[in-house]
Symmetry: C2
Subunit: 528 residues, 2 copies
């Protein structure tokens, strides 16, 4: 493949945890040296964690990043034959006149071998779309960096650099090494390869990514090598670890397994990195809470997941029996706390409209769940899906309450798909088929069904894909064949829910446009 | 002052409401023509509203902006002697290679006279700090624009352009006209004048701003003229309207009156622009809810404000009597809903830790308030101050529940100051002196005081000013004389509350670093 032995160090850093991040890096360096690796490439800002957000403005953090690099430099004498490329933040000495930001640091990569700093490269193209705030948080670089590893000339680039309009054009270079902090989206794996081939323009290119969850993002590894002929020669898995680029190896996953692993990693790392070990969630007998419970069991183990069934006077028999079956199938504890005493108490205290009476029940459940969360130190999971979050089909401070929303970027039709996949991969009925097949209902009044208030989910999700995920207009959605009335109704619901979403829990980003820091829309608008 | 008669059109646009925004502009143009104004300057993006956020990516919105400009152009024959400068969005035909964004439009200004488009200017320096996402949302311009009004040569600039490092340097120019979308902060009025004088470098400069609230921002008018000698020749008020720049007129306010008016405008316009007319809030007898009630009465009138007293078994006598006195003083309706029935019901349903029992009471109150909100169509105000929001001294889904947080950027020591000012300006005791003078307490357990858990507010606010508002480090705060232990404790509390704040209601920005879209910090960190 290449005259040098190449490897990727997929670490799972925590923002600001320099000691822990350094430790991960050093461990992989030692392993790489033992395995005769020549060049080991880590991810973008692997020493600091990424994204830093406005912590990048803090001089003390940037100085700690530079100190951590010095430590690694000294340590590199322990693996003298290894050349390594690692991402870190360093103080900028010049500002960029076309930039009006508070940035003080570069987003940089250091090339290190045997105690020597071979060179430093500063990221030049700073993305400023979706979740990315690099132009806000960093000063762009201006200098290229080529290093030699044996006889191989290696150019260093960072992430967005290879998405520039102009392809790479230095004839002296044999290999382009790219350090990335590239979060998962449904299309990202293929988009990365298209961008890499286009940019490499006939050179070999090695694409190194981070691994693991950081708030709403999951860095899904997937480091890869493009040959000079444009073919993919190697693909790493998504877990942290050392990946030696062996010709022809392909660590990639099926689309469904990848999505499953991303959902699990997002939840697991949010808990681990915030030092939480246990969760609680309401089990309604419905499909959303069932899928979240299954993901939680995979992420942190059945013994750490508590389900709570909170039947009301309107709950169907199957809502309780499906929750019981789910808990039994997953091996998790199930507690039952009927809400009737509280329901009666509030009815004696307040006179409420019909809709407010529905919201009341959802909020009483949140009071129960947050009571358990606060008493027992369990993170409350909120189980809303993207279709609901989009149109505001939820009760704020009710079912939307929680510290993490595992499936907030998964459309309802994908929830069904993923639930079936959970059973398929376990080769047993973890999620009761009845939960998958029954018509969705919030059960906040007798006989209520989601489809009393919402279009069929197949249609709703199609409209959301256009209006939200493709940034389309109502005209685009109508042109795609959806009914004018439903499109306008959905558009109105999406915009009316902006204020609710602004108070929503974070959850793992899956799509190109998720409801989170990557979508910044005013609450107050009169835009049609 | 100048050989031409100059005026400012301070409009209060709604994002996306082209008809309404155009109507405001045309009305002021007609008035200006009647008053023999030569040059009328409107604010940044006055036709579209500002900030647009990611709506700037929507081609249909940008096309509507261009259409609205065409309408204004045709209409301008009705005021043929007037030259006007107005902000709008227009499609970009070229991208900027150093920019990696999804931007499709320029943030532009059109110069119009008697049906003729004299020229167009595109904002060049696009801010990307604090609440500003212009580099994300717009394509920078490259061309200068000078127009002639009579014999006066006028250069056109937009907002951040005048904060550039290089001062203005075109000797042909007599006057620099600047269209701004500049939100209030405590120091902004003086900062604007410093920047304007420095940039103008011996030229006359006319600074036009928007007026009114837009989500978390309040555009505080304050349009002004700097003479060629660097002196301030004219200052407008903060309300929408036409302001003719008469030599020596000063429409500025005292610091306390300005802050009061900004707090009122933020709340009033959030309600008006989201078509809401009535509010509800819990009245605890404490100072925070008292101040919010007074602001609400000023914003929308006493008849539209409902206070709810929700005493518990731990409530003091004065908490009820102070709420009653406040409601009487303000002339607002007060309802009493004791929480004991619900409290007893939940105690029969759950066994909770001590802290969870405190949180429970706050959440029962939120259930009551949101029940009233949903039933009666009243926006719930959440009354937490910045000191509480900073250290997370609140119950999520409890007292932090609400659609708008009027004083979330006001430190507790400033709450006291503002409460005294409310009484002073009314020349009567609107807010009971007892509410101002008693020691703060959440009253969630017998004899509880805020200072059992928090440092004295004078000290806490001093530390928050350094750690949050000055982006300082713990070392900075210790160096400023605060105790090492209290600084570290406060820093830990601020970071631990990041997840709560991520779900907080929006509220009016007052400081350079407020908790809102201008402060972007990861939830998951291990940064010390």
């Amino acid at each position: 493949m290449l005259p040098i032995r190449l490897a990727f160090g997929q670490t799972n850093p925590i923002v600001g945890d320099f000691a822990g991040n350094l430790d991960q890096i050093e461990t992989l360096c030692v392993e790489a040296e033992q395995k005769q690796v020549d060049l080991l490439i880590f991810g973008e800002l692997a020493l600091c964690g990424y994204p830093l957000g406005d912590l990048s403005y803090r001089r003390d953090l940037v100085l700690k990043s530079e100190t951590a690099l010095e430590t690694l430099l000294a340590k590199s004498k322990d693996f003298p034959n290894l050349t390594l490329l690692v991402g870190y933040a360093r103080l900028a000495t010049q500002t960029n006149p076309s930039q009006s930001s508070k940035a003080i640091a570069h987003n940089s990569a250091a090339a290190i071998r045997n105690g020597e700093l071979l060179g430093v490269y500063d990221k030049q193209l700073l993305p400023n779309y979706d979740v990315f705030d690099d132009w806000r948080n960093f000063v762009p670089g201006t200098q290229e960096l080529n290093i030699k590893v044996g006889q191989t000339v290696v150019a260093v680039k960072i992430c967005e650099d290879i998405w520039s309009e102009a392809p790479f054009a230095d004839d002296q270079v044999d290999l382009i090494a790219v350090l990335n902090g590239s979060p998962f989206t449904f299309e990202k794996s293929s988009q990365r390869r298209v961008a890499a081939k286009r940019f490499a323009a006939g050179k070999a290119l090695a694409y190194a990514n981070l691994a693991g969850g950081q708030d709403e993002l999951v860095f899904d590894g997937d480091s890869f090598v493009v040959g000079a002929d444009g073919s993919i020669r190697f693909t790493a898995g998504m877990q942290p670890g050392l990946f030696i680029a062996e010709e022809g190896q392909d660590g990639s996953y099926s689309a469904e397994e990848k999505l499953f692993q991303v959902l699990v990693a997002g939840l697991r790392d949010y808990l681990a990195k915030t030092k939480q070990t246990r969760v609680v969630l309401g089990l309604s007998g419905g499909i959303d809470s069932a899928l979240c419970a299954a993901l939680a069991v995979e992420a942190i183990g059945m013994q750490n997941v508590l389900g709570v069934s909170m039947p009301s006077r309107y709950s169907s028999e199957h809502s309780v029996s499906d929750a019981v079956a789910l808990a039994r199938n997953l091996g998790i504890e199930l507690r039952s706390v009927p809400i009737e005493p509280a329901h009666l108490a509030f009815e004696s205290m307040l006179t409420l409209s019909d809709l407010a009476q529905e919201n009341l029940q959802a909020r009483l459940r949140a009071v129960i769940l947050m009571g358990i969360s606060n008493s027992e130190g369990r993170l409350l999971l909120t189980t809303g899906n993207k279709s609901e979050v989009a149109v505001g089909y939820s009760t704020i401070y009710g079912d939307s309450a929680g510290g993490f929303a595992p499936i907030k970027d998964l459309l309802k039709t994908d929830v069904w798909r993923m639930a079936r996949y959970v059973n398929k991969r376990a080769a047993t009925e973890l999620i009761p088929v009845s939960s998958i097949e029954k018509p969705p209902s919030a059960e906040l009044r007798p006989g209520q069904l989601d489809q009393d208030s919402l279009p069929d989910y197949e249609i709703l999700d199609g409209i959301i894909r256009i209006l939200v995920e493709a940034n389309g207009t109502v005209q685009d959605a109508i042109a795609a064949g959806f009914s004018t009335e439903l499109v306008h109704k959905t558009d109105r619901m999406i915009r009316a829910a902006e204020w609710k979403r602004s108070q929503g829990a974070i959850g793992t980003k899956l799509s190109g446009v998720s409801f989170g820091s990557g979508r910044r829309v005013p609450i107050t608008t009169r835009f049609d």
